[in-house]
């Protein structure tokens, strides 16, 4: 039993975090927003140069062969910066799926994606829209249970604006044939299920970063801004609002980390944990952003401060990769599944122990 991250795991996230502190400031976000674009090529290239695209890809496929625990702090750092570019979606979700496909066309696109030469969007059945399809070079689509891989120029899309200035939501159609198939239904289903778990946990990790950043911004403002002759951060009401948000954060964090560590178990508890992580993180991000807006006063309701980016990203992630209804149902099913057994514990003791005691 060890709940700590390894030195290297922290170091990887620190590298990403440093880069984003430099290149993904509020001013950078505002400039990108004003340009009407959703991605910044220079920042994307800089991120790709860190070589993290293959972090979850086995070494024999050209990746680093690391695990979700090695990436969860990176996802958190991306949330903290409200990063517009799809590092989490690519390195954490789509590329691992591509790497799991046993098909030459998938292999070809995998290598491009690993090299930072292509971005691949995934139309996962749990999401009614594909986020970032416009900027993608190829798309993974599901039809009749089969997974298809098609180039961007072979699809038609209908694209909507999101409240998040850096997201575009598309519905995608394409003429899919036997040639475009990259995985048969029997292979596809478990891979999509596994992908959903990863995406859920990494969405949660991003929300954790969003929540932490919202509180940081509010604290900095409250400590500086004076009203009635003293910093508003000295008022108990302001303190208690932020303390309440901080408690939500503190009790989302270990759930997210455990969900990342346990993802491989692929059982009812690990799925409930992923759902729990997302519900708790989305709630923490929402409360922290609303609290931060409130502490900032009218300023918080404007575009002058960065909180609105955090609020909107949290809102978008809340509805992606399964909404409240979806995830709460998974949690409740687990909570009610076998309340007489050991399921109440945080971790399952080994089967042997249980067998002995039975």
């Amino acid at each position: 039993m060890d709940f700590a991250f390894a030195e290297e795991q922290r170091a990887i996230a620190e590298v990403v975090s440093s880069l984003l502190t430099d290149q993904c400031t509020g001013a950078d976000l505002r400039r990108l927003m004003d340009s009407g674009q959703t991605h910044d090529a220079a920042r994307w290239n800089a991120l790709m140069e860190l070589g993290l695209s293959g972090i979850l890809v086995p070494e024999d496929k050209g990746g680093l062969g690391l695990s979700e625990t090695d990436f969860v702090l990176v996802a958190r750092a991306c949330g903290h910066a409200a990063l517009p570019e799809p590092l989490v979606e690519q390195a954490g979700v789509v590329i691992p799926l591509l790497a799991a496909l046993d098909h030459p066309r998938a292999e070809e696109w995998l290598q491009k994606a690993l090299a930072g030469e292509a971005v691949i969007a995934l139309a996962h059945p749990v999401n009614p829209f594909v986020c970032g399809a416009e900027n993608a070079d190829a798309l993974l689509l599901v039809q009749d249970g089969q997974l298809h891989l098609v180039a961007r120029n072979q699809v038609q899309m209908d694209t909507h604006a999101s409240i998040d200035p850096f997201r575009r939501l598309s519905t995608v159609t394409a003429t899919l044939t036997a040639e475009t198939v990259v995985a048969e239904a029997s292979v596809c289903a478990p891979l999509l299920a596994q992908t959903l778990e990863r995406a859920t946990v990494f969405a949660a990790a991003q929300c954790l970063g969003l929540a932490e950043r919202s509180v940081e911004l509010a604290v900095a403002y409250a400590n500086e801004r004076t009203q009635f002759g003293k910093p508003i951060g000295t008022y108990q009401a302001v303190k208690h609002l932020l303390a309440t948000a901080q408690v939500k954060i503190e009790f989302a964090r270990p759930v997210i980390y455990a969900a990342a560590a346990e993802i491989g178990a692929n059982n009812a508890l690990s799925r409930a944990r992923a759902s729990h992580a997302k519900l708790a993180a989305v709630e923490a991000a929402s409360l922290a952003a609303r609290t931060s807006i409130q502490v900032h006063g009218a300023m918080g309701y404007s575009w002058e401060v960065d909180v609105h980016f955090l609020l909107k990203r949290g809102l978008a992630l809340g509805g992606s990769w399964g909404d409240e209804t979806f995830h709460r149902a998974r949690v409740l099913a687990c909570a009610l599944s076998s309340p007489a057994a050991d399921s109440g514990f945080a971790f399952t003791a080994s089967k042997d122990t249980l067998a002995h005691a039975a």
Binding site: P128, A161, I163, R290, A298, Y301, W303, G319, R328
Partner: protein, 383 residues
């Protein structure tokens, strides 16, 4: 206690309903925080004025209908039920109009009220400053007397409607060196004069609902001062009383929102966590409770009572109800919630949610309201 409407009240409801059926625009107008939307909303104000439905609560002498509070509540219910446009003239109707009637000279009333009522002049509020938000007494904008004019210098912020409005009522310091609540005056200022620069502030929803106003030697006639010199704080507090009290937030908007929420839930019920039904029921109850409370207060006021610190309870209640109601709608919409433009036929729940987030902040933050409740309703000691 008699909780039903008189035949006259029913008849008035019918009149309003039928007029609205004939006049409300068929399609939703663009936001009045856009230039095109502002013009269309001004047109709507003119249409209302022609039907004598513009300033229904104003006395007949000033071009209103002289509705009592219950009639106003009926009007509001029908107005929201009909899906009529938001009131770009709100500052005039509820804040400056009543203030002018109470503090204005005859000449001021004659000059300003008709154009306000007709929608020809739309008004902005210009009180807050970067260092004077919740702490309004910290206002630093100066107005120095120069003959028949005041010369204004300063920086106003969070001025609602100011981007496209014609006039603003501005809180200034007319006594040099005065402190806090003393030495302030309220002046009525044409926003198009020299020395006035209005910069929109994009809101969280991307629209320019606020502006900052830079005043550099802007000259305002002394005749445009509202109330006595140095009485600005007193006049503002009277205005804030209108704003914070019954007037600003009619219950009909929440009842209409709760009704739409029920419809949204019914539409999606099959695929939803049934627990969301509890939130829908709560939204219905909240909207009902708010309406009953306002009807109750209206009856008391009509019987000669006055509204006191319990208005702070209203503020907290509607602002929290509004956020919760919209959160429920977004939970129902799930992955569709983030769409910047609502899906066909849908209400703009997302816009409403973002708007609701301002609720706990403006018109006196909820923290300040809780202090007021504790100190003035419950009689607890000041800190």
């Amino acid at each position: 206690m008699q909780l039903s409407f008189t035949p006259e009240q029913d008849a008035f409801r019918l009149e309003v309903r039928q007029w609205l059926q004939n006049h409300v625009p068929q399609t939703r107008l663009p936001s009045f925080d856009t230039e095109a939307g502002f013009a269309l909303h001004r047109e709507w104000e003119r249409t209302l004025a022609k039907g004598n439905f513009g300033m229904v609560t104003w006395p007949k002498d000033y071009g209103g209908r002289g509705l009592n509070l219950i009639e106003w509540l009926i009007f509001e219910e029908e107005y929201y039920r009909a899906g009529a446009p938001g009131r770009v003239n709100q500052n005039g109707i509820f804040l400056l109009g009543p203030t002018l009637m109470e503090f204005g000279t005859d000449a001021q009333k004659a000059r300003f009220l008709p154009a306000m009522a007709s929608g020809d002049e739309i008004w902005a509020q210009a009180w807050s400053e970067p260092q004077a938000g919740s702490d309004l007494a910290a206002v630093a904008t100066t107005a120095v007397r120069d003959g028949d004019h005041y010369v204004l210098n300063g920086h106003k912020i969070w001025s609602s409607r100011a981007v496209f409005a014609d006039w603003a009522f501005v809180l200034v310091r007319t006594e040099a060196g005065s402190q806090r609540h003393k030495g302030l005056s309220l002046v009525l200022m044409d926003l198009k004069i020299e020395g006035v620069t209005v910069n929109p502030i994009p809101q969280i929803d991307g629209e320019a609902g606020f502006a900052e106003i830079f005043l550099e030697n802007a000259r305002v006639p002394v005749a445009n001062r509202l109330g006595d010199e140095g009485q600005g704080w007193h006049v503002c507090m009277a205005t804030a009383g209108f704003e914070r009290g019954l007037m600003l937030r009619s219950p009909a908007r929440y009842q209409e929102a709760a009704r739409k929420l029920s419809a949204l839930y019914l539409e999606h019920q099959d695929r939803l966590d049934p627990a969301i039904g509890r939130d829908v029921a709560q939204a219905w109850m909240n909207a009902q409770a708010y309406a009953l409370s306002i009807y109750s207060t209206a009856c008391r006021l009509q019987a000669g009572g006055s509204i006191g610190a319990e208005a702070s309870c209203n503020k907290i209640f509607w602002s929290e109800m509004d956020i919760a109601l919209h959160q429920t709608a977004l939970a129902i919409l799930g992955p569709y919630a983030e769409l910047a433009e609502p899906m066909a036929n849908n209400h703009d729940w997302l816009g409403g949610y973002l708007f609701s987030l301002a609720g706990p902040i403006y018109a006196g933050s909820n923290e300040i309201q809780r202090n007021i409740i504790a100190e003035r309703v419950l009689g607890m000691p000041r800190g």
